[in-house]
């Protein structure tokens, strides 16, 4: 067996500190709450490692396709959706009636169209999506820290306005599993995903005369070395994210989501600064009100986000790439601020980000996930134009 450290020099200090931090948080959660919270935190860490090592971002993948018709990123996402369709649909179709889980279903209307469109622009300006922002922050990218801060501000502002947006026209939620039954819905969805897969391959071949392989990887290290130190080929990322998302569904009882926590963190900060958050309609009833009253560690979405960030820190340290050198110019700063605000505001209006609404929505057979895909992609096209105007590339 070849050496597992052949091409990588891990950042030992950060690796040790992060490992200790993960263990301490897990022990504290076990003491304060229950094993479920520990498990969700560790799943989050696993997601962070997978996202970082596979560089599994939606933003770059979509930009590469829009600009150059390079489709590897999009194909990896389609593979992820397909695996989760196969895993989620039977469970959501209640083949095990005793297993009560909740898919991601949301009303299809103006709110989600506008929200995902704004989110799409924000992806390109901010330089990341929901998951992408978290794992790049974990990787130590300072510019993404700015994006995250304004993502939180935007999500909180969005929660202030959400009731108005929800008063706009909507046709309600549409679940293909309920509408067609889980088996026909699964077969149709797999067919649509396969058709999209073939289409993007053809578009890439037409433009570039060659098609990138999802299995390709710049590293020649052994499998075990790549597993620990990265980088992973995209298909490894798709499979690990699918498995961890499925475990999340089983453990948490709901699909993986990210951006609810950002709004919650913003609300808690506003509350701590003396703002009257409880007077806001969104935060005065239902789960948001409960989450506001309780410790942030009681919120499963927050817990998983903390896990993702720490997991990405660990992965970056193992890869020897934590906190890379960077230059933040004025245009990068402006775009991080505007992008972060659009990401947060858009995610709130769209019932989630690329994970909570797009990925979880499609994996749950909900029409709102597909609508998010279309309008979010259009937003990305506009966002790519804005990147050119701001000379971000």
């Amino acid at each position: 067996m070849s050496s597992i450290t052949s091409n990588v020099k891990p950042d030992t200090t950060v690796t040790i500190l992060t490992s200790i931090a993960i263990i301490i948080v897990a022990v504290l959660l076990q003491n304060a709450f229950a094993s479920k919270q520990v498990l969700l935190f560790l799943i989050g860490a696993g997601l962070g490692i997978s996202l970082y090592h596979a560089s599994f971002g939606f933003t770059g993948g979509w930009r590469n396709f829009i600009r150059e018709r390079r489709s590897a990123g999009i194909r990896a996402q389609l593979l992820l959706f397909a695996i989760c369709t196969v895993l989620f649909f039977p469970i959501l179709g209640e083949i095990f009636p005793q297993l009560s889980v909740q898919g991601a279903n949301a009303p299809v209307g103006v709110s989600i169209m506008i929200g995902s469109f704004l989110f799409g622009i924000g992806m390109q300006l901010g330089g990341g999506c929901g998951s992408g922002t978290l794992f790049t922050v974990g990787g130590g990218h300072v510019r993404m820290l700015i994006t995250l801060c304004f993502f939180i501000v935007g999500a909180f502002i969005g929660s202030m306005h959400l009731h108005w947006w929800l008063s706009l026209p909507s046709i309600g939620s549409i679940s293909f599993i309920q509408l067609l039954g889980w088996i026909p819905a699964l077969l149709i969805q797999l067919g649509v995903l396969a058709a999209l897969y073939v289409t993007v391959i053809k578009m890439e071949a037409n433009r570039n005369k060659e098609v990138a392989d999802l299995r390709s990887n710049e590293s020649n290290d052994s499998v075990s070395a790549k597993l620990i130190f990265g980088p992973w080929p995209l298909w490894w990322g798709a499979i690990s994210l699918a498995i961890l998302s499925f475990i999340t569904l089983l453990v948490a009882g709901h699909t993986w989501s990210i951006t609810f926590a950002f709004g919650l963190w913003g609300a808690k900060i506003w509350d701590a600064l003396g703002g009257n958050v409880a007077a806001l309609p969104y935060w005065s009833s239902g789960y948001p009100s409960l989450a506001l009253e309780q410790s942030v560690l009681a919120d499963t979405t927050s817990l998983m986000n903390f896990g993702i960030i720490l997991g990405a820190v660990l992965a970056a340290a193992l890869a020897g790439k934590f906190a890379p050198e960077s230059k933040i110019k004025w245009n990068g700063l402006v775009s991080a601020v505007i992008g972060g605000l659009l990401l947060g505001y858009g995610a709130r209006l769209a019932f989630g980000c690329n994970i909570g609404a797009l990925f979880a929505g499609i994996s749950s057979g909900s029409l709102h996930g597909w609508l998010w895909l279309v309008t979010g992609f259009i937003g990305n096209i506009v966002g790519v134009r804005f990147r050119s105007l701001l000379k971000l590339d």
Binding site: S100, Q102, Y287, A323, G352
Partner: protein, 95 residues
């Protein structure tokens, strides 16, 4: 910015976030502990019967006994006023 500078910025940000989480955690109440065997039994029963997920903290499990299944008419749907539903951002399905 040089790598070392970035490391300090990231370390500072993570440290600040840790303090914020610790402050938040200490100023909010935790779910009431249930001492003794009865509590363990009740917890077991709750987890078994919890309609949506495994245990405490699950927003769909607030009302034990409510069906948090897939049906849109259930309390995890989006009826205004129900504890699990309507409000977007609810981890119980709307995000």
């Amino acid at each position: 910015m040089k790598q070392n500078q970035n490391r300090w910025i990231m370390g500072g940000a993570i440290g600040l976030a840790t303090v914020a989480v610790a402050l938040d955690h200490t100023r909010h109440k935790l779910p009431d502990p249930q001492p003794g065997d009865q509590a363990i039994h009740e917890q077991y029963v709750d987890e078994d019967m919890a309609p949506c997920g495994i245990g405490s903290g699950n927003p769909c499990g607030l009302d034990v006994g409510n069906p948090c299944g897939f049906d849109t008419s259930n309390p995890c749907g989006f009826d205004t006023g129900n504890p699990c539903g309507f409000d977007a951002g609810n981890p119980c399905g709307f995000e």
